[in-house]
Amino acid sequence: MRARHLLLAVVLGALAIAGAAHAQPRSGVARPPNEEQLPLRELGSQLYAGNCSACHGVDGRGQRTPRKTTEGIEGQGPPLRGVGARSVDFYLRTGYMPLSKPDEQPVRRRALFTDREIRAMVDYVASLPPPGPPIPRPEPGKGNLAEGYELFTEHCAGCHQVAAQGGVVTGARVPPLEDSSAVQIAQAARVGPYLMPKFSEKDITDAELNSIIKYAEMAAKRPHNDGGWGIGNIGPVPEGMVTWFIAGVAFVLMCVVIGSRLRS
């Protein structure tokens, strides 16, 4: 049986990599030694076993009750069967996964895996039944900015701020979108990572999503700063800082130059 072989391979791989993991620094990822020679699916399977299975369970079945792992963390995480390439690609390319603690908020950082490794893991998890959605191919060029603005304000601005500069929701920090690619924005909207709502095609159509992405990319990456230095495009807080730390200091200096006496 093919599945049995696969399972055996995974368990063996996991054991091998667990050994390797001990030699590696705690924050690092576990890699099979002969990475280049391995076929993509096999590499994905081994990387999954070494880096994901502690929380997401063997074969992506999830880990409902916390379990002590070799790395000393309490492994606990959702099943990955059926999430598809869309979700896995997002979490790995944004550096959201792997998490060092299962209950912390994933934050954007440099992806820990190479492009080939990510493709391998995406391919592996997507191959687990049932089939899941593929990586989206948004076309923001076809969007409309005004429509994008309206939809973004209705669905996204509450957390991401109207100019996509990020914000706060009680319990989580909401990332700005300046580093997010069009594909990642589309993935996040459909996947709803961490505390973010998850918008289906019924709620926001692909065409509407194009408009949202077009607007968000403009607002976050190419804001219209016609008035000069944009100071972050988040409004009054940096404006107040400029008032006090630049204008205020300049005015006090001016007074000091014009008024002769410095001391009483």
């Binding site: 304000t153 601005a157 807080v237 008032t243």
Partner: protein, 463 residues
């Protein structure tokens, strides 16, 4: 020897005498030219506020020529491409047009906004200087009170200024203002409905009301208070530090208005204008096209008021969640504490401070000579504690941005500030008093040493 050609002097003389024959102004001009300004850099902070106000009026008049204060609905067709076809109010559309299609319109709008921010900052700095030097004491209590009224009028004026543009931040700010108005005990509902002409977002006349208040009623009120403030300053003359032995409670030492002070003040005014135009040209402020038009059902994260209302968003956010109620009957809703009672307490304490101080010190005389902060440890310690209290609440208002940029968890910050606003001012009070006492002690030692040295010198000379 100063003085130009004899012909020039004759010309000035003739002009003045012509004026005097018609107005009787010559004695006043004569006196005014030699009006004395004691010299210290911190005495110029109030002037900066005055010049920022002049800039506000000048740029504001320009803006009124283009702004259309109307909630009337329209569709955007101007030159800012991303908003093409969006429904919006005439007010917001005209503000966009002013920013994108009126040459130098954006410069005037941004300079106006920066001038507002600087105006309030200069008032606050000036007020801090006046407080910590005891300049508010008899006979200048009225000047102090008028100044405070000006500050609070200005806060309302600024709030209306950015609210009537009808962008997303405007609308959110107005919703909060409405919530605070509703929360006023007993009459809140009547008050809010009266001001907004119905439940929020109000009827179309509400925009006209904001507009007339912003461009006419409040500026006139501020200008009147300003005139009174300056008249009182002039009639009682300036306070001074004891900079020389000649400066006493009875004798004022300073530079005459002319020729020493006038070019300095004019220079400061022009430099103020220069700095504000520079900010207006180079640093973007309130980019309304990035916020979009307001709809009641929309919201944006990180909605903040301009800095001078930051202390109120701080107090609104810090307040633990409760409405004062008896059973099911709400008496005082939550926004009242942070949005109305807190600023009233601040106004009350500051306004009462000349009289509070008299109660504590029992001092009833005239004061023309200023204290150094260390010379009045009680006042300085109280002022520092009070200022810390307001400043902490102010800083807590941007806790959400601190979360985003510094990674400090929002909820933990709120709990930290809830404790800190009570504990830290107390600490500041005792530390400040101690520091003042130490400084006074070291001053006394220094004085004794100087006296002894002088004595020794005198003895040596005698010997």
């Amino acid at each position: 020897m100063v003085g130009g050609q004899p012909g020039e002097a004759e010309l000035i003389r003739r002009a003045l005498l012509w004026l005097d024959a018609r107005t009787g102004a010559a004695p006043l001009v004569r006196k005014g030219l030699r009006y004395l300004f004691p010299d210290h850099w911190s005495f110029l902070l109030g002037e900066v506020a005055l010049y920022a106000f002049i800039m506000l009026v000048a740029t504001g008049i320009y803006l009124t020529l283009f702004f259309e204060p109307s909630f009337g609905e329209t569709t955007y067709t101007g030159s800012y491409a991303p908003m093409q076809g969006l429904p919006m109010s005439e007010a917001y559309r005209s503000a966009l047009e002013l920013s994108f299609d009126v040459p130098s319109g954006l410069l005037m709008r941004q300079t106006h906004h920066w001038a507002a921010n600087v105006f309030v900052a200069a008032i606050v700095l000036h007020m801090i200087r006046v407080f910590f030097t005891g300049a508010f004491r008899k006979p200048r209590e009225l000047t102090w009170i008028i100044g405070l009224l000006m500050l609070f009028t200005t806060l309302l004026e600024g709030y209306l200024g950015y609210s009537m543009v009808d962008d997303l931040l405007s609308g959110i700010g107005l919703a909060i203002g409405y919530g605070v108005a509703l929360s006023v005990p007993v009459i809140g509902a009547n008050l809010a409905l009266g001001i907004w002409d119905g439940p929020f977002p109000g009827s179309t006349v509400f925009e006209s009301r904001m507009y007339v208040a912003h461009v006419f009623l409040l500026p006139i009120l501020i200008a009147t208070l300003l005139a009174g403030h300056l008249a009182l300053v002039a009639s009682r003359h300036h306070t001074q530090f004891r900079a020389s032995k000649r400066a006493t409670q009875r004798r004022i030492v300073g530079m005459p208005a002319f020729p020493a002070q006038t070019p300095r003040s004019l220079g400061l005014m022009l430099m103020t204008a220069a700095l504000l135009f520079l900010l207006g040209g180079l640093v973007q402020i309130n980019p309304i096209w990035q916020w979009g038009p307001y709809e009641t059902y929309q919201a944006t994260n990180g909605a903040q008021p301009d800095w001078y209302l930051g202390w109120l968003i701080g107090s609104l956010r810090l307040m633990p969640g409760f409405d004062l109620s008896i059973g099911d009957y709400v008496l005082v809703p939550n926004p009242f504490w942070g949005g109305a009672l807190f600023p009233l307490v601040v106004l009350g304490v500051l306004g009462a401070s000349p009289w509070l101080e008299r109660r504590f010190t029992g001092e009833r005389g005239f004061n023309n000579v200023l204290d150094r902060p260390r010379d009045a440890p009680g006042r300085t310690a109280f002022g520092a504690a009070f200022f810390t209290w307001v400043a902490l609440i102010f800083i807590s208002g941007s806790a959400d941005r601190a979360d985003v940029f510094l990674g400090l968890d929002y909820e933990s910050q709120i709990w930290f500030y809830r404790v800190a606003v009570i504990v830290v001012p107390l600490l500041v009070f005792f530390v400040t008093r101690k520091v003042c006492a130490e400084l006074q002690a070291s001053d006394a030692i220094e004085e004794a040493r100087e006296a002894a040295e002088e004595e020794a010198k005198a003895e040596a000379v005698a010997a």
